[in-house]
C-alpha cells in the first residue's frame, strides 16, 4: 500500500506516541499529548529527544511502577483535555483518589518524582485528610510506621533539668547546703525526721475521704488590688467601702493564723455575710476570646522528648570538649550573663553566673 492509502485506512497510525520505561524494565507507549502533561516527561522529550521509539524509551524515576504509571496516565489523559469544566475535573479528582492507602502513598511519591504538581497537591491533601484527627497510634497503623520514639521521648523526662546553666549552679549550691545541713544535724545529734511518704493506695485514700472529712466552710475574700478601671460597672473587684472594711478584718483574722479542728483540717475563722465575695467566678471577664486559645491544645505532649535529647547532649559535651561548651554558652541569648570564670586549685572550672532579672 502507498503511504497515502495507509493514511486513509488507518488514520490512528499517524497519532504520535511516546515510549516510557519503568524501573522494572517494562516499556509501554502512551499518546503524546497525555505524556506531555507530565512536566518531567515533557522536558525529557524536548531536551533529549528521547521517547520517540521503543529503543529510546524515556526512563521514568524509580518511584513510578507500572500500576502507578497507569493511574497517573489516566489522570493525565483526563485533565489534558482542555474542554472539561471545573466541575467535571473536581468530580473526577474526588473519585480518583478513592484508592487504598498504599496506592495513594505510591501515587503521591510518583507524582512528585514526575513533578506533576496538580496531582501531588491532590494526593497530598488526601493524605493530610487521612492524618487529621487521628492519634499517633492510629497514624502509625494507617501508614505502617514504626513506633520508634522511646517512652522517654514521648513523655517528659524532667529527670535532669540541669541543662540550664543557672539551674545547674543552683543545684550545686543546694547540694552543698544539703551536705552542710546534714553535717550540722549529725553534730547536734538530732534525729533526722523520715520524710513522710504517702504510699497509701488510692483506695485507702478514697475510703479515708468517704469516711467523711469535716467540711470546710471558710470563705475568704481575695486581696483587693483595684486597678484603675474606667469601664462602668465592670471593675474587677468589689470596691465598695463596706467590702474593703471587711477585707481588712479578714486580713487581721488570717494573720492570727490557723486553728485546727479534730479531723486535722484547717479552717479560717468565718466572717460576716457582708464580706462574702459578691463576685462570682467569671465576674467581669475581659470581653475577648483569644483565638479560642483557651480550648486549643498546646505544645506539651509533643515537646516531651526534647529533654532527653538535651540531657544526652549535655552529658556528651561534658565528657568531651569543655572549651567548646563555653563557646556555645557565650554565644547564647541575652538572658544569661557570665560574670566571672575562675579556676580552683585542682584545675576544674567553676562558673558563676548572675541571674538576669527583668
Amino acid at each position: 500500500m502507498s503511504e497515502g492509502e495507509m493514511a486513509i485506512i488507518k488514520p490512528e497510525v499517524m497519532k504520535s506516541y511516546i515510549w516510557l520505561q519503568t524501573a522494572d524494565g517494562s516499556i509501554q507507549q502512551v499518546e503524546e499529548e497525555v505524556a506531555m502533561f507530565c512536566p518531567m516527561i515533557c522536558r525529557e522529550i524536548l531536551q533529549t529527544g528521547m521517547g520517540s521509539s521503543k529503543n529510546y524509551a524515556i526512563s521514568l524515576p524509580q518511584k513510578v511502577n507500572p500500576t502507578t504509571l497507569s493511574l497517573i496516565l489516566d489522570y493525565c489523559r483526563f485533565h489534558q483535555l482542555p474542554g472539561r469544566s471545573n466541575k467535571e475535573r473536581k468530580s473526577f479528582d474526588e473519585k480518583f483518589i478513592r484508592i487504598d492507602t498504599k496506592r495513594l502513598c505510591e501515587l503521591t511519591s510518583a507524582a512528585d518524582s514526575l513533578q506533576l504538581k496538580p496531582l501531588v497537591d491532590l494526593t497530598s491533601r488526601a493524605l493530610a485528610r487521612m492524618i487529621e484527627g487521628k492519634t499517633p497510634e492510629e497514624i502509625r497503623e494507617t501508614f505502617h510506621l514504626p513506633d520508634d520514639l522511646t517512652e522517654e521521648e514521648k513523655l517528659e523526662p524532667l529527670r535532669n533539668t540541669a541543662d540550664d546553666l543557672r539551674i545547674r549552679l543552683l543545684n550545686r549550691l543546694y547540694a552543698r547546703k544539703r551536705k552542710e545541713l546534714k553535717e550540722k544535724q549529725k553534730m547536734k545529734n538530732v534525729e533526722v525526721e523520715e520524710e513522710r511518704v504517702d504510699d497509701r493506695s488510692v483506695d485507702d485514700l478514697l475510703s479515708f475521704i468517704n469516711g467523711g472529712d469535716g467540711g470546710f466552710e471558710g470563705v475568704r475574700a481575695p486581696k483587693n488590688k483595684k486597678k484603675n478601671q474606667r469601664r462602668k460597672g465592670h471593675s474587677k473587684d468589689p470596691s465598695t467601702n463596706d467590702v474593703n472594711k471587711n477585707h481588712k478584718e479578714m486580713d487581721d483574722l488570717s494573720s492570727a493564723c490557723c486553728k485546727e479542728d479534730e479531723s486535722g483540717n484547717v479552717f479560717m475563722a468565718s466572717h460576716s455575710k457582708a464580706a462574702k465575695l459578691k463576685v462570682a467566678v467569671d465576674g467581669f471577664p475581659p470581653k475577648v476570646e483569644f483565638d479560642d486559645g483557651d480550648i486549643d491544645d498546646e505544645l506539651d505532649p509533643a515537646m516531651k522528648e526534647e529533654l532527653d535529647r538535651e540531657v544526652e547532649d549535655f552529658a556528651r559535651r561534658l565528657n568531651s570538649d569543655w572549651p567548646e561548651r563555653m563557646q556555645e554558652i557565650l554565644s547564647l541569648g541575652q538572658d544569661r550573663k557570665l560574670v566571672s570564670i575562675s579556676m580552683n586549685g585542682n584545675g576544674s572550672l567553676r562558673r558563676y553566673t548572675s541571674l538576669e532579672r527583668r
Binding site: 498504599k102 512528585d112 497537591d121 493530610a128 492524618i131 487529621e132 499517633p136 501508614f143 505502617h144 510506621l145 514504626p146 517528659e156 524532667l158 539551674i167 543546694y174 544539703r178 545541713l181 488510692v202 478514697l206 479515708f208 475521704i209 467523711g212 472529712d213 470546710f216 466552710e217 471558710g218 470563705v219 481575695p222 486581696k223 486597678k227 462602668k232 468589689p238 465598695t240 494573720s255 484547717v266 479552717f267 462574702k276 459578691k278 463576685v279 462570682a280 467566678v281 467569671d282 467581669f284 475581659p286 470581653k287 475577648v288 483569644f290 486559645g293 483557651d294 480550648i295 486549643d296 491544645d297 498546646e298 506539651d300 505532649p301 509533643a302 522528648e305 526534647e306 541575652q334 527583668r358
Partner: protein, 583 residues
Amino acid sequence: MLMAHSFPEEVLEHVFSFIRSEKDRNAISLVCKSWYEIERWCRHRLFIGNCYAVSPRITIRRFPELRSVSLKGKPHFADFNLVPQGWGGNVYPWVAAMAQAYPWLEELRLKRMVVTDDTLELISRSFKNFKVLVLSSCEGFTTDGLAAIAANCRNLRELDLRESEVDDPSGNWLSHFPESCTSLVSLSFACLEGEVSFSALERLVGRCTNLKTLRLNQAVPLDKLPNLLRRAPQLVDLGTGVYSAEVRPELYSKLAGAFLGCKELKSLSGFWEVLPAYLPAIYPVCAGLTSLNLSYATIQGPDLIKLVSQCQSLQRLWVLDYIEDNGLDTLAASCKDLQELRVFPSDPYSAEPNVSLTEQGLVSVSEGCPKLQSVLYFCRQMSNAALLTIARNRPNMTRFRLCIIEPQAPDYLTLQPLDAGFGAIVEHCNNLRRLSLSGLLTDRVFEYIGTHGKKLEMLSLAFAGDGDLGLHNVLSGCKSLRKLEIRDCPFGDKALLANALKLETMRSLWMSSCSVSFGACKLLGQKMQRLNVEVIDERGPPDSRPDNCSVERLYVYRSVAGPRLDKPNFVWTMDEDFALKLS
C-alpha cells in the same frame, strides 16, 4: 508485616503543610522519629499555653523555623485580681531569644503577659518582616512602645491591643506610622485612654486601603466617625468611639450616610455612652451583622430590642443585662443563626436586681436558637428546671458559663442545690469543653461532672462542694481536663495527692482560698518532678507557719523547663530543695 511506604522528605513536608491544627501537628510529631524530625523543621506556628511550661531555648532548639508564636502568661484568675502584681509572665526573655533565633518572625500574640516598652522596641527592631502584634490583657507598656512599633515595623498588618492596660503619657504614637505605611489590615486600640491625633488617624485610615478592622477608643468623638468611615468603606469590623453627642441633625445624616456606604460591615463594637437617638444610623448595616458587642452600651431594653430584631444574621451577641428577658425573647425569635451569647451584669453590686433578667431569658434563647453553643450568662436566679430545659434544648453546647451573682444561691424555686441542673448540662451536652459553675453546689455535682464531663477541658469553680471527694471526682473522671481553677472551695490535700499523676496531664491547676496545706504542697512538689508546684502567699514564707496550715494560693503546672527563676518574693516553688532555699 506490611512495609511502610517511604516518602521523600519534601513530599511529607508538602503533606504536612495542609495540616494546620496544633493538635494534629502534635500528633504527627509523636508518630515516629522521622516524622518528628520532618515536622519540627516545617512547623511555622506555635502556641504555648503557659509560658513557663517550656523555655525559649528549648523551643528554639526544637523549632528552628517559626514564623508565628503565641504565648500565654498569667493564669486566668488574674482577671479577677487573684494573682498579685509582680507575679511574673514577662515576655522579654522570649523576645530576646527569638530576636536571635527567628529574624523572620512575623507574628506575636500574647495574652496576660507583662510587656515593657523595651520589649516593644526590641520587637520593632529585630524582626524585619514583622506583621502581627496582638496584646490581649497585657500590661507594663506605654504608648511610647507603640510608637516604636508604628515607626519601625514596615510591613505591619495587625496591631491589636485588646483589653490591655496601657499608660498613655503623650498620645502621639499614632503619628509615628510613616506616611509610607499602607499595609495595615487591622488596628484596634479600644483599650487606650488617651486621645489620638485625629488627622494622623484619618490619613492612616485613608491610605491603608486594605484596612478591614478598626476599633477606636473612647477618646474618638462621634463627629469624627463619619469621616473615618468614608475613608474606609471596605471595613468589615468597626469599633466605634463614644457613640454620643448633642443631637445635631447634620451629624446624624452624615453618620447615617457613612454607615450606608459600609457594605462589608460584619462586626460592630464600642458604643461607649450611647445616645439612642443616634442608633438608627446603624440600622442599614444590621441585616449583615454577624457579631455585635454592646457590652459597654448602657442602652435600655426597648432600644436594644429594636436593634437586635434587625440583626437576623447575628452569630455572636455580647450585651448588658438591660436586654432583659423580653429582649432575649426577641433575640430568640429573630436571630436563628446565633452561636454565642454573653450577657454581662450592669450593676452586680446592688443587693436588689435592677433589671428584669432571669433564667427565663436564657431558656428562651436556648429554645429559639438551634446553633447556640457558647454561653456566658450573669443573672440573679436560677433553677434546676431551667438548667434541665436548657440542657435538653441544646445538647450541642460547647461552652457554658453561668454566673449567679450571689455566691451559693440555691434553686430559687425549690431552695435545693443546683447539682441536678448542672448535672443535666454535663449529661446532655456531650461536647461540652468549658464549664463554669455557680450557685449552691454540693459534692454531688462533681459526681455528675466526673461521670459525664469526658470532653471537658476547662472547669472553673467557686464556693462549691463539701469536701475532697468533689475534687477527686473531677480529677479522676474528667479525662480531657486541662485547666482547673478553683477558689473558695473546701478542697484539701487528699484529693490533690491522690490524683497527683493527673496533674501532669493538665496544663495547670489553680486553687485559692481552699484547704490545701503547706505540707501537702511540699509533698506534691517533691514527688512530682515534672510539675512546678508554686505557693503564692503574701503572708510571708510558708514554712514560718505549721505544715498543716493552708496556703493562700496554689498554682500547679507541668513544665519541662524546671522551676522558674523569675519568682517574686511571695511565690515559692515546692521541690526537693525547698527547705534549703530559705536558709
